[in-house]
């Protein structure tokens, strides 16, 4: 069954067409990577699916419901979580407080102003479990802005997962990381998304091939190919599209 499906999704900014009728299908439980050369419209596709912009044409179907143009908070409540390419945490708050925001949302605690949040033992326990799972126990009371780059990125990804979404969308989770940090983050994502449906945009082909069961190639705002890593690897059109892209050819 498809958890997420887009039908003829298109989008333009002030007359500049970025997406041309994208039909993306993401099945239950799969790890799906969206790749493509720079300017292919990957981030726009992401933003249109997660409610940042309302698409100028087409439909987004999530868990069988039409969610086209729904506000981000509504999508989040329906079970869609996302991370950002540019780290976007609550920088002046501790790691614990950052994750707790996700836990509160997961439990539907949103307009509660008659109880102390520190006194909610369930929330505290669950937050600490998540911290243990992502290996940030030692950094529990460190401000997010004081984390090392790799750990800050890990927090970014973990926040997307902290609401326990049915579908998590990661926008270049390893952007700007060193080799060791990338490796650690790939392991983290593998562990955290086990049994979950995940969609990611990624430039690093090593990351793509070690995480994805299925790959969709976006090229000038349209889908060029979609299939298992092996199929994509051997697709001649994909090779042509990437001709000259060192990173990609290197990966083969």
């Amino acid at each position: 069954m498809n958890v997420l499906q887009t039908k003829g999704l298109s989008h333009h900014f002030k007359g500049l067409q970025v997406l041309f009728g994208v039909d993306l299908q993401v099945r239950q439980g799969e790890h799906h990577a969206i790749i493509g050369p720079n300017g292919a419209g990957k981030t726009t596709l992401f933003n249109v699916i997660t409610g940042t912009y309302r698409p100028t044409g087409g439909q987004v179907v999530f868990k069988g419901q039409d969610v086209t143009g729904l506000a981000p908070y509504k999508l989040a409540r329906k079970g869609l979580g996302r991370s950002f390419q540019i780290t976007s945490t609550f920088e002046k708050q501790t790691v614990f407080q950052n994750i707790r925001m996700g836990v509160m949302s997961r439990r539907g605690i949103r307009f509660d102003f008659w109880r102390r949040v520190a006194g909610m033992d369930g929330v505290t326990r669950e937050t600490e479990e998540i911290l243990a799972g992502i290996g940030l126990v030692a950094e529990r009371d460190v401000l997010a802005c004081e984390l090392s780059y790799g750990k800050h990125r890990a927090l970014e990804v973990s926040m997307a997962l902290s609401t326990d979404p049915d579908l998590v969308m990661l926008d270049e989770p390893t952007a700007g990381m060193s080799k060791e940090e990338t490796h650690a983050t790939v392991e983290l994502i593998k562990r955290l998304t086990k049994g979950k449906t995940m969609v990611m945009v990624e430039h690093d082909m090593d990351v793509v091939f070690s995480l994805a069961d299925r790959i969709t190639v976006l090229y000038y705002g349209a889908i060029l190919a979609s299939g298992t890593p092996d199929v994509i690897r051997d697709d001649q059109r994909v090779r042509d599209a990437y001709l000259g892209d060192m990173e990609f050819s290197h990966a083969f």
Binding site: F90, E91, Q93, M101, S105, F113, R115, V117, M159, T163
Partner: protein, 329 residues
């Protein structure tokens, strides 16, 4: 017992003792402090906790003050607490009515819009003299006693009684806001300040949360205004809606320490002391305000409260060095 509880009990004991230790003159000063502090803390909820700078908070203060004056003038026999609460609710209602516009703008646009609304109310209240008395304002109503039928009745014209009335309400209000910052919704509020986009993507309704905060902040600003009306027995546009009424609590927050909860209370106290000292030169009041804004922003952005923290750090460092020297010897 937990430390905060001890602190709280101590502070309340001191507050309760003040009128008996000092005379009525100083209790009046304390009433003004209570009103200013409550007002400043309500504004601080927006400034330090939601990251929004308002230049028009006098709007809520004024609605609360005019509300109390109108209710006490026209509805004789209404219990004083009901009148004060209704006035505060009116201010909260104004916050609710304006919130569809206020939630849409951020940063400088928010500041300008609040400035506009504040000035708008000032103009309206100056022009509609039939209701508000225009420049002269409303005065001379009989303030009913604070009473529970058959139990007690306190005449609020007595300094000691108005002291307990004002300080009591201010303490309750400030404690309620302090508690609010510690609740889940308080966490959402702080997170909106830090990163509104992320709050949205985590599944929280930013718009509705902000609207609730505006009502909340407006309610307590209105409460401060209502207490002001009861205390002064006079409400005029110049006294409760003028733009300087919006700037006063801003100054208190800055002087005390932006980004802290208790800074504004300290700041209100310091400003009141300054006012007492410079009272002989009223024409210098605006100049002093301006200089304070400039100096604090440039040289002490953490406010007076950060001074305490700096002092503590310095003291700790000294103790540490001394210990190091001793262990060396």
């Amino acid at each position: 017992m937990k430390r905060p509880v001890v602190w709280l009990a101590g502070a309340l004991a001191v507050l309760a003792a003040i009128p008996f230790v000092f005379g009525p003159l100083h209790t009046n000063l304390m009433v003004r402090l209570a009103i200013e502090a409550l007002f400043a803390v309500s504004l601080n909820l927006l400034l330090s906790y939601t990251g929004l700078l308002s230049f028009g908070h006098a709007l809520y203060f004024g609605v609360g003050a005019y509300g109390a004056a109108l209710i006490l003038t026209h509805l004789q026999g209404i219990p004083i607490l009901v009148a004060v609460l209704l006035s505060a609710l009116a201010a909260a209602l104004v916050g609710l009515v304006l919130s569809p516009l206020l939630v849409r703008v951020r940063a400088t646009a928010f500041t300008m819009l609040t400035l506009a609304f504040g000035q708008l109310m000032f103009v309206l209240c100056s022009k509609f003299r039939e209701v508000t008395g225009g420049e002269d304002g409303i005065m001379g109503w009989t303030t009913p006693p604070l009473a529970l039928p058959g139990l007690f009745s306190l005449d609020l014209r007595q300094p000691v009684n108005i002291y307990f009335f004002a300080v009591g309400l201010a303490c309750l209000g400030i404690l309620a806001m302090w508690f609010f910052t510690k609740t889940p919704m308080g966490s959402v509020m702080i997170s909106i300040r830090d990163n509104q986009k992320r709050v949205d993507y985590l599944g929280y309704q930013v718009v509705l949360t902000k609207a609730v905060i505006f009502c909340f902040s407006g309610f307590f600003a209105g409460l401060a205004g209502a207490v002001y009306a009861v205390f002064n027995n006079l409400v005029s546009v110049g006294g409760v809606l003028h733009i300087m009424v919006s700037f006063q609590p801003l100054m208190a927050i800055l002087v005390g320490g932006i980004g802290t909860f208790f800074g504004p209370i300290l700041g209100s106290g310091l400003l009141l002391l300054l006012e007492e000292v410079t009272q002989a030169y009223p024409e210098l009041a605006l100049m002093i305000s301006g200089v304070i804004f400039i100096l604090v922003v440039m040289f002490l952005p953490g406010g007076a409260i950060s001074f305490g923290a700096r002092l503590r750090a310095w003291w700790r460092k000294r103790a540490y060095l001394r210990k190091a020297r001793e262990s060396e010897a």
